[in-house]
Amino acid sequence: MITVRFGDADAVTGDGQKVKVPAKLALMQRGPVIPVVISPDQTFAAALQAASKPIPQPVTGFALVDTGATTTCIDATVAQKMGLAPSGTAKLSSVSHEGTQCLTYPVQLFFPAWNVGLQAARAMGVTIANQGIIALVGRDLLQNCVLVYNGADGSFTLAL
């Protein structure tokens, strides 16, 4: 189980004054994020090894727990830099868009706070690094978890 509580953070206003940002506001702004390490799927890594090719180094960053996402996503740039091979495509649907085609990648998301790695067989490649995150933890992984979002306390708890 991981419980993350945002501490009261320092911030600087437009006129240069230092102010404390309440934990609840910090959580609202940042969202429920947890450290994550993205690695190639074990099967892909074994195939690389068998072909005497180097195994990509894991990439560390933050993942946003996104209950709105059906499927786990990773940043497409990270996937490309790691040299991951897509395993197919998937469409993102919405009210306003019929479907945006994305490449999917088999990856492992390792959560150091849990010391647990979860396989995401079809992580969609999307552009999210500009948000300060490298992954969205979607409902395909959350279906095995308990998530408690305590906005009033500025904390959330995620348990397997």
Binding site: A46, A47, T70, T77, A85, G99, C102, V126, T127, Q131
Partner: protein, 78 residues
């Protein structure tokens, strides 16, 4: 994408015998149908090495994923 066209062309036949399973396509070849996506991945890497693959579940329509934050433009689909 050649693989998508190959899959779509074979979909009626696949649905009659392998609905719900996972098809592995490479180029214009339907390599096989597997019970799980993991098995399809393993078979693909064993046959072709660590290369891009095309695996799709045999369903009448492609399942769509939803990520509202992406859709609203807060985040961006690649």
């Amino acid at each position: 994408m050649a693989e998508a066209s190959t899959f779509e062309a074979q979909l009626p036949a696949l649905l009659s015998q392998h609905a719900g399973k996972y098809a592995l396509v490479h180029g214009t070849e339907l390599v096989g149908v597997f019970d799980t996506e993991a098995n399809a991945l393993a078979a693909g890497y064993q046959k072709f090495g660590p290369v891009p693959l095309y695996i799709r579940q045999v369903l009448p329509e492609e399942q769509k994923a939803s990520a509202p934050a992406l859709v609203l433009g807060i985040l961006t689909a690649a």
